[in-house]
Amino acid sequence: MTDQAYNFAYLDEQTKRMIRRALLKAIAVPGYQVPFASREMPMPYGWGTGGVQVTAACLTPEDRLKVIDQGADDTTNAVSIRKFFQRTAGVATTEHTPDATVIQTRHRIPETALKAGQILVYQVPIPEPLRFLEPRESETRKMHELEDYGLMHVKLYEDIARHGTIATAYAYPVKVEGRYVMDPSPIPKFDNPKLSGNAAIQLFGAGREQRIYALPPWTEAVSLDFDDHPFQPSKAPHDCDLCGAADSYLDELITDDLGGRMFVCSDTDFCAGRRAAGHIGRLGAAEPEVVP
């Protein structure tokens, strides 16, 4: 049910037009961060206000919205954003990736391949990949202008010098269509290959930092690396303990104080789908009933 006290999808029309113009420029210059006049939202910065504003500007009443937080549909951030749009836009929601037309995500790309007609909206905390290397906006803007990304390679090199390997495990920088270096938001580098050549439209919103950027479908996004230290997507070297998947990104859960632990798919919809199809992992069988 739509809350009639608000305009459709919460934001006023003037704000949506401003965001929509920024989105089209972001699509036209893939990987470039377009400044936009981010609004106060009824949730604090850091809870996905950038993603929420992008989603609000894209939603139509016929959309089916999915919201995930680190792959899960049922965590606080995902549940509250989903309810927010149920109330203010009256849109249908789903947890099933193939059924969704708009997916807002915090820090994961769904395991199930996306398709044309879907939009993936990322919540971005720090959109500037060079920010931790150079705090001045005036300087990072100049570096993007001059395509001067040597500093980022120095950072990756120092990783190798110190750890023997590129230790960056999330928010791993990519170069978009051979031009802009882009922060893919704090997704695990396991997800980086899915950024490139994706059939869906990928939109990135950073509310506090007031930036919007985008990857159109079929856009090349190459993870930065060196010839002798090629990029390697990584995951925990286990199978999912619930569904047995060997190729999905895993969360590690501590199960007791004796060192017991289990690895489960971070993407809850993917895991549930596999279990429904009969795949069972190491600990996935139903608990035997305790007979008193």
Partner: protein, 197 residues
């Protein structure tokens, strides 16, 4: 006095906007977004009835994207009292010369020379114009498109190729284009490479 005002703002100027603006604009934006994100695809839009010579799609694009904060350039036949009145009532965009425009609308011939339009700055390439180009014919034939948003290749009946090749050569600077024809539109962002078909 009253007679003068009603003569200046014709009844046509007051009609032809979106019936339910939040929903119509949301539908229209998704079509424009898909068109711009997938160069070569042609999308259908509805909801606006702008005065001649503007097409439905051009009116929809303006109602969806332009407002009082976006200077607009009317080129050629689009610069007529009926269109000016309609834009003043529904959109409120200041009408400006080509070099200051965020949006420009007209036929490809009327928009010449396109070098007049803003292409952004090296540090802010987003500060560039979007051209809404009215065409008589919009079809998937002619020049070959490649680049972001195109899986292999696409074709779109562009009015010419040289201007768009020049535009692409300046990437990340450049203008972006929306082609409109009746109630259909297609997008051509500056990132698209164009080859004569």
């Amino acid at each position: 006095m009253t007679a003068n005002i009603s003569a200046n703002i014709s009844a046509d100027a007051l009609s032809g906007g979106f019936a339910v603006p939040p929903v119509a604009a949301a539908h229209a934006f998704r079509e424009v977004l898909e068109a711009m994100a997938r160069p070569g695809t042609i999308r259908r839009v509805a909801g606006a009835q702008p005065p001649a010579p503007l097409s439905v799609a051009a009116g929809v694009a303006l109602l969806t994207l332009a407002d009082g904060t976006t200077p607009l350039h009317l080129a050629g036949a689009a610069d007529c009292p009926a269109v000016r009145g309609w834009i003043a009532f529904h959109i409120g965009a200041p009408l400006v010369a080509a070099g200051e425009a965020v949006f420009a609308i007209g036929t490809w011939a009327a928009l010449q020379p396109v070098a007049r339009f803003r292409i952004g700055q090296p540090d802010y390439p987003d500060r560039s114009a979007t051209l809404i180009v009215e065409v008589d014919r919009l079809a998937n034939d002619g020049p070959v498109l490649t680049g972001p948003g195109v899986e292999v290749t696409a074709r779109l009946s562009l009015p010419e190729t040289a201007a768009f090749r020049t535009n692409r050569a300046r990437f990340p600077l450049g203008f972006d284009t929306i082609f409109t024809c009746g109630d259909r539109l297609a997008g051509l962002p500056r990132s698209t490479r164009v080859e004569a078909g």
